[in-house]
Subunit: 211 residues, 2 copies
DNA sequence: GCGACAACATTCTCAGTAGTATGTCACTGT
DNA sequence: ACAGTGACATACTACTGAGAATGTTGTCGC
């Protein structure tokens, strides 16, 4: 039997690695992918380049770790909603709200991934980079497919209706992901504030897709 | 009476300048803001750095010119729709469709501006940069305000209904602007193809805001 | 037919940055 | 107590790219 695991097993996410990824997400958000230097990331940790390069081969591999984590947050937030035994239209709205929440709750990660996909797509010089990138793009597609499946389910059962499932999926993702552009973290914001935004967003987006 | 014009008049948009801006938009789209070098831009024109720096003081000033042009395209596309004597809900959908069209038609410009706002916001070292940036952000806000005004008008006259005008505006912009992420130029695409996408998008987004 | 200027091209400098090489030190099993 | 190793810090290299300085060429007024 063939080994179905990915060829190069991922390095274990130790505590120190996780800290670096977290710091990197912060830096990427604040200064942009290119302008954020390895030294910046190390500074956030009160460390030096040596620590970073001890755990990561390259800057791009750090970005990929951030990206992977961001995707994981999304899946983790939406999976439980997906399992709920509710009509497709309600499920879609709940998924949208959950996605909106995770955008706000993990803003540095989500913002980082938005900055970089295309950039690393073009300039990927190494084979490892291209491989990583292909996997992440695939993951992202799988994630968006979750929404399209619910859309199709709703259309089949008569609770949803859109001119084009693919475009409807784009609309959902576009509207929700735009949060990373305009949502600003403020210290006095409460959990309820975020929930309100998430609910309003989800409702506004999904309402137009109801049958 | 005070002079209400901007303090430093913009350099005239000569043909050569326009070519540079066009080439820059291409490069920014293909390689990203930071990875695109002045030499890249010059290469597209079959020229050298000298030509570029003869017309622009800095790389950031080129980006600002691209940004300004992108905004102008948007205004030019939406202004005529705004003047139509039709109900607010129809007007909103027509504006959305026009915006979607301009996203596709001027893709390099629109994609460039998405990449850079935040990046140049942080690292703006010169006063001129900050000034330019503030003006462009202001312009962008004015543009989005056009949509919010139509939304409010529609709510007042009973043709539109949303939980929150601000968020509804974000949804519209987010969904439509996401075009720059997923829309791909293909040579065999016809005008009708783009119109179909624009119509589907506008309809899907605005339908949920109707009363 | 010549000075002057615009529109570039060529060449150079200098700062910043990814990545490397090597050093240090605490700990751990033996 | 000592060899080995993991987890870093320090010091260095190699390169890239923005911007400046300077050189070249066409053109236009006169």
């Amino acid at each position: 039997m063939m080994n179905t695991q990915p060829p190069q097993s991922l390095p274990p996410m130790t505590d120190s690695r996780q800290q670096i990824v977290e710091a990197a997400a912060q830096c990427f958000m604040l200064k942009g992918l290119e302008k954020a230097t390895i030294d910046d990331i190390a500074d956030v940790l009160g460390a030096t380049k040596g620590r970073v390069y001890h755990h990561f081969r390259s800057k791009s591999s750090i970005y990929f770790a951030v990206h992977r984590q961001a995707m994981q947050y999304c899946f983790d937030a939406v999976d439980p909603v997906l399992a709920l035994p509710i009509p497709h239209d309600e499920k879609l709205e709940a998924m949208a709200a959950a996605h909106a929440r995770v955008m706000m709750d993990t803003l540095p990660y989500q913002r980082s991934i938005r900055l970089g996909v295309e950039i690393y797509l073009r300039g990927s010089t190494t084979e490892a980079d291209r491989e990583m990138l292909a996997e992440l793009i695939n993951q992202r597609n799988n994630y968006e497919e979750l929404y399209r499946e619910v859309l199709r389910g709703g259309i089949d059962t008569g609770t949803l209706s859109v001119p084009d499932v693919k475009i409807a999926g784009r609309v959902i993702m576009g509207a929700l992901n735009s949060l990373v552009d305009w949502y600003r973290l403020r210290p006095q914001q409460t959990d309820a504030d975020r929930d309100l935004i998430a609910k309003d967003l989800a409702q506004t987006v999904v309402r137009g897709m109801r049958a």
